[in-house]
């Protein structure tokens, strides 16, 4: 759609290298240039969530960035080689084959 030549960097989204414009937020880069359509699964009901505001208000853009979980990705700029992962719903004791003690059944 809009292919103005500009500087780009590469980030790795869920294991795939993606070329994105320099200087943009991780959240914008993932929405615009990766194949991922959601960012995390809600801890209460597992529903898939993605950003609403992209300006630091909604806390719906949480991603794991360079190993740190639950980062507000709209407030972080992309950097060459950055490793970004969408987040699965945390395991809940008593659900999905996990016993209340937390060890796998």
């Amino acid at each position: 759609m809009s292919n103005t030549p500009g500087k780009t960097v590469h980030i790795i989204v869920n294991g795939t290298s993606v070329e994105v414009p320099e200087g943009v937020s991780v959240a914008a880069a993932v929405l615009g240039h990766s194949h991922e359509r959601h960012f995390y699964e809600h801890s209460l009901d597992g529903s898939k969530r993605a950003p609403w505001c992209l300006m630091g208000v909604c806390f719906e853009c949480m991603l794991e960035i360079d190993g740190r979980p639950n980062v507000q990705s709209c407030m972080v700029q992309v950097a060459e080689g950055m490793v970004v992962n969408t987040q699965k719903r945390p395991a809940v004791p008593g659900e999905n084959g996990l016993s209340d003690q937390g060890d796998r059944a």
Binding site: P21, A28, A29, R49, C53
Partner: protein, 470 residues
């Protein structure tokens, strides 16, 4: 070592914050500016120094933004980007930057956190692909438009000047737009008519609006009026939009649904500081009580820009200039007469812009019915609290939003009530029969933002860390 004491700290690098810092510097103050983003500009002038955003701004806005940022950069303000303010305690401001928290002090503090889109819940609004219009505009300015097609087009819904601007930006980007669903209130639009003659005093502004309206109308984008009962539906992502009009129920396929119901001030900091607030009956939102120079109920804190009351970028710049000059006057760095002299032109210009504001705030007033959502609608996205949960709490006898919060957990998640606060108040008001201003506003406490405990304990390199390195 970093300087930790200033004459003035400005929070926010949008038009108001930048203008405030420039004006205060011009008067001779030592100024620090803290801002969350990587570059100056706020939302209106986001990425203004990069060609990505410049393409989207019209010639006048681009020049204004670039001039302001250049003046700011050359002015000698101690600019600290990537800085999220999480506490203000008297004259001390604590903020987090790159995982380290610092605390600096100043004799005067100017808050300029700007506005945000009014979050209006509806069934399916938590689905990926449903966003605020402002979010989409940020994507366009970042050259990060998601993949769309004629089968998965954009649907716009709501009411407000930003939606008009976004529609133009989407047309410019060649994005497929299936429809504009208008939720505005015809009666309130008629109520705006008496304000029209005054607004004609600001021809340039109105001409810009009409230009955008013509562009949208001539594009052939279907505009559907009196839209109610909006729903987003889909499996893991929005796939279709449902709505009703006076003629019946309709469905549209959609790849993205963008909702906009106006801009409201970001009030978390003034709210937490206990500053006096005013309820705006027309725009249905709280804003800090300020005078035209941004003075608040607390002497050493002033507020500039859309966070004082929403009036757009041009006015924000003027409001910032007035607040910066007034800070220097308060600190006796310039005399009353000097302050009056420096403010005169800006005051005149701001009063002129007020003419059009009276008209716009009525014509784009939110329809109260937009909050009449079905029980299953998620209101608090963080804690999954539904409209039905809130109504049940009101039936239990709770009418103050803070009681309802404790009873339902609505507003207790990471966003600290930013996304649900306005809707919670409207729902509590509807269910209890009280006017919204009587159900109170959510009390915000510090930290304004979630901050890791180890950052809290190692402010300015003190505490925990020191004990371990000693």
């Amino acid at each position: 070592m970093n300087i930790t004491n200033f004459d003035c700290i400005v929070i926010g690098a949008g038009p108001a914050g930048l203008a405030a810092a420039c004006a205060a510097r011009d008067c001779g103050l030592e100024v620090a500016l803290l801002d969350e983003q990587a570059a100056p500009g706020g939302q209106l002038f986001r990425n203004v120094e990069s060609p990505l955003a410049q393409r989207l701004l019209d010639e006048k806005d681009r020049r204004t933004g670039l001039d302001l940022v250049a003046r700011f950069r050359a002015g000698g303000t101690d600019y600290r980007p990537h800085s999220t303010v999480w506490a203000i305690d008297g004259t001390a401001v604590s903020y987090s930057r790159n995982g380290v928290s610092e605390r600096i002090t100043a004799s005067h503090i100017i808050l300029a956190p700007g506005g945000m889109e009014r979050p209006v819940p509806f069934p399916g609004w938590t689905l990926p692909g449903v966003m605020g219009a402002g979010g989409m505009d940020i994507l366009l300015r970042s050259d990060c438009l998601p993949r769309l097609s004629r089968q998965e087009p954009v649907v716009l819904c709501g009411n407000g000047p930003l939606l008009l601007l976004l529609a133009c930006h989407l047309l410019d980007a060649g994005a497929p737009v299936a429809a504009w669903l208008d939720t505005g209130d015809t009666l309130r639009r008629l109520a705006a008519l008496p304000h029209m003659p005054a607004a004609l005093g600001d021809r340039a502004y109105l001409a810009k609006g009409l230009r955008m309206a013509r562009r949208v109308l001539s594009s052939g984008m279907p505009i559907i009026r009196n839209v109610r009962s909006l729903r987003a539906e889909g499996d893991g992502h929005v796939e279709q939009v449902r709505y009703t009009t006076s003629k019946g129920e309709y469905r549209l396929p959609a790849g993205m649904l963008l909702r906009h119901e106006g801009i409201i001030p970001r009030t978390h900091i003034p709210n937490a500081l206990g500053l006096a607030m005013t309820w705006d009956e027309v725009q249905r939102c709280w804003h800090p009580t300020t005078d035209i120079r941004g003075r608040t109920s607390c002497e050493h804190i002033s507020i500039a820009g859309d966070s004082a009351y929403v009036h757009g970028g041009d006015a924000s710049l003027l409001k910032g200039t007035l607040a910066g000059i007034d800070a220097a006057r308060r600190l006796h760095v310039i005399s009353e007469a000097e302050a009056d002299h420096r403010s005169a032109g800006t005051l005149r210009e701001l009063r002129r812009l007020e003419w059009a504001r009276g008209f716009l705030r009525h014509i784009f007033a939110p329809h109260p019915d937009i909050f009449a959502v079905p029980d299953e609608t998620i209101i608090c996205r963080c804690e999954n609290v539904s409209a039905g949960d809130i109504r049940a709490a009101v039936r239990e006898g709770f009418t103050n939003v803070n009681e309802i919060k404790r009873f339902t957990r609505c507003g207790m998640g990471p966003c600290q009530g930013r996304m649900c606060g306005p809707a919670l108040a409207e729902l509590a008001a509807q269910a209890s029969g009280l006017p919204p201003r009587q159900v109170d506003m959510l009390h915000v406490r510090m930290p304004f933002r979630p901050v890791p405990l180890n950052e809290y304990c190692t402010l300015n390199g003190l505490g925990y860390e020191e004990n371990h390195t000693a």
